[in-house]
């Protein structure tokens, strides 16, 4: 079993080719000097990143308001999602690991539940519930409550519904490893409760807070199923990409994808580094 056969090794090699082929193709054709994202290769260009549209009739990503605004929308969603995920996730982790009350096991089960609900169902249920809520409140308050209607704020809520589970699990796993005697030692040396939290507990949790924030950022950035159901007129990046892919896109979509890959790679390496520092 420890001496792999040649066939096995070839299979492994073929697997990794299979794994990276689509990504490589996407990346390569971002630089193709052609109006279509398909072969043949017509020469190298950066037009699909920085071009103004003079060469192929369509602008590059960094000058196209459609792409720029959807990148902006994605950030408008992802940043609040990441911040709230870390904040609420920390409180939830505290509840799971530190608090004692009846029904805690039930609550812990409930917190896992969102992971087994299909994203589309999460999307429609939140859409339906908040529409009813908005209708009721608008009748009662006699005012428009646009943030409860499809749009970026609803997308934030929809994504939070399951990303909170992930961030809670990440932070709770770290909190479980915490040696309570560190807190007692700090308290014993004269620190106040808040000082203990600030100087001992939170620094210990920091790698997991950063980790949970980055994971939330990534998950928010690439979420499609839930977002699709809740989106209004401002489309985040995956929604714009989906639209373009259905209608037939220019290589600008490859350029966006490559930027996305680089961004993910960057965040992944930050993540890997903090994970290493944790050890």
């Amino acid at each position: 079993m420890n001496r792999p056969s040649l066939a096995w090794k070839l299979y492994i090699a073929a697997f990794y080719v299979f794994l990276f082929a689509p990504l490589l193709i996407v990346a390569i054709f971002a630089f193709n000097a052609s109006p279509f994202p398909s072969p043949p290769w017509r020469g190298f260009t950066l037009e699909w990143f920085t071009g103004s549209g003079a060469a192929f009739g369509k602008p590059g990503v960094l000058t196209d308001p459609v792409w720029l605004s959807s990148i902006g929308n994605s950030f408008k969603v992802a940043i609040p999602v990441a911040l709230l995920a870390v904040l609420v996730g920390t409180v939830n982790a505290w509840v799971l690991e530190r608090a004692e009350f009846r029904g805690k096991t039930f609550l812990a089960m409930m917190m896992l539940w969102p992971l087994v609900i299909p994203g589309v169902v999460l999307g429609i249920s939140i859409l339906a519930f908040f529409s009813r809520l908005a209708n009721g409140l608008e009748d009662w308050l006699q005012t428009d409550l646009d943030f409860l209607r499809p749009g970026l704020s609803l997308v934030i809520l929809g994504q939070l519904s399951f990303i909170l589970t992930i961030s809670t699990l990440i932070i709770a796993a770290r909190l479980r490893k915490f040696d309570r005697s560190l807190e007692e030692a700090a308290f014993d040396l004269g620190a106040s409760r808040t000082r203990v939290l600030r100087t001992v507990t939170l620094p210990f949790l920091r790698p997991s807070l950063i980790g949970a924030g980055l994971v939330a950022l990534l998950m928010s950035f690439e979420n499609f199923n839930t977002t699709l159901m809740l989106v209004g007129s401002d489309a985040p990046l995956p929604i714009t990409m989906y639209g373009q892919m259905r209608e037939g896109a220019t290589p600008a979509i490859n350029a966006v994808s490559l930027l996305l890959m680089l961004g993910v790679g960057g965040i992944a390496s930050v993540f890997a580094l903090t994970a290493k520092a944790e050890r």
Binding site: M1, N2, P4, W8, Y11, I12, F15, F18, L19, A21, P22, L23, L24, I25, V26, F29, F36, S38, P39, V88, V91, N92, V95, A99, L112, P114, L115, V116, I117, P118, V120, V121, L122, I124, I126, A128, F129, F130, L157, G158, L160, S161, L164, L218, F221, E222, F224, N225, L228, M229, P238, M241, Y242, I253, S257, L260, M261, V264, I267, A268
Partner: protein
């Protein structure tokens, strides 16, 4: 012992975010679509309780056939993913050592942190009529006109298997990792063939990982939207598409809510069945992933 009021207040404040989250974003919305799915329109803007949405599902062949097709294809995709992923996970867990092992696992993880849409875009560029595979086939003379490899069930399955691989490999590798090498050696030592050792020792040991991987892949596949729609085109026929159509295109929310409940039922039933058959709990299964 009686709790002090201050302690109760602290506990309440700590619990508040979790209760708001689970209440407002999970429980009440699901109650809402459950109620919605049982309401039918009796006159313009007037709705009453009834089963029409569910009856509609069973009487309209397109709906239940799409549902059955989604369920069947998802099971097929899960099985295929398991078969393809097993040798990889076995290699990562038991053959590769040190840095090679870490590299192989990291390389597995990377593509899956990139958006699903980017990955699907890659497959579209490879498979479509004007795509890379078709171009190469013509260039080497294997075809004399463009070949359309997209918009069929094969492409949908390929895309879904690709998307599920990581979620299979990681739990499998974790489960296989914990198998003591001495146990495998003892299996050989007592005269077992490779196949016997695999079947009698390795696979039973990896069972929790297999279950976890299968459940996750199945859930992700059944709930997928972009891959079948983009790679299957008109022939994609995925149940999530029907939900989207009812909710967004036709604005028939009660019908869409009924479909949503059915999808939720399907995915929960399979998860429950998988856990039941193998005696695992949801918590430990999710931790495997």
């Amino acid at each position: 012992m009686m709790q002090k009021p201050a302690q109760r207040l602290t506990l309440f404040l700590l619990l508040a975010p979790a209760i708001l989250w689970l209440g407002l974003l999970i429980v009440l919305p699901h109650v809402e679509i459950l109620v919605l799915s049982f309401s039918e329109r009796v006159a313009p803007r007037v709705y009453a309780f009834g089963f029409r949405n569910y009856l509609e599902f069973f009487t309209e062949p397109l709906y239940w056939r799409t549902f059955a097709r989604t369920a069947f294809m998802s099971i097929l995709v899960t099985a295929l993913t398991l078969v393809l992923a097993f040798p990889i996970a076995l290699y990562i867990a038991r053959v590769a050592q040190g840095r090679v092992k870490a590299m192989l696992l990291l390389l597995c993880l990377l593509p899956f942190w990139v958006s699903e849409l980017v990955r699907t875009l890659g497959w579209m560029m490879l498979l479509r009529e004007t795509g890379v595979v078709s171009y190469i086939l013509r260039a080497v003379g294997a075809a004399d006109q463009p070949v359309e490899l997209l918009y069929n069930d094969g492409a949908v399955i390929l895309g879904l298997v690709y998307g599920g691989l990581l979620f299979m490999i990681v739990p499998l590798a974790n489960a296989l990792e914990s198998l003591e090498p001495a146990v495998v050696e003892a299996g050989f030592d007592l005269g077992g063939s490779r196949w016997t050792v695999l079947r009698r020792i390795v696979i039973p040991h990896a069972m929790p990982g297999i279950v976890a991987g299968c459940i996750i892949v199945f859930m992700l596949t059944v709930g997928n939207f972009a891959t079948p729609v983009l790679l299957g085109g008109k022939n994609g026929l995925w149940f999530t598409e029907q939900i989207y159509a009812q909710f967004i295109t036709r604005f028939n929310w009660p019908q869409g809510a009924a479909f949503g409940m059915l999808l939720l039922l399907l995915s929960s039933a399979i998860v429950w069945l998988g856990l039941r058959l193998t005696g695992q709990s949801l918590g430990t299964t999710l931790k495997q992933a």
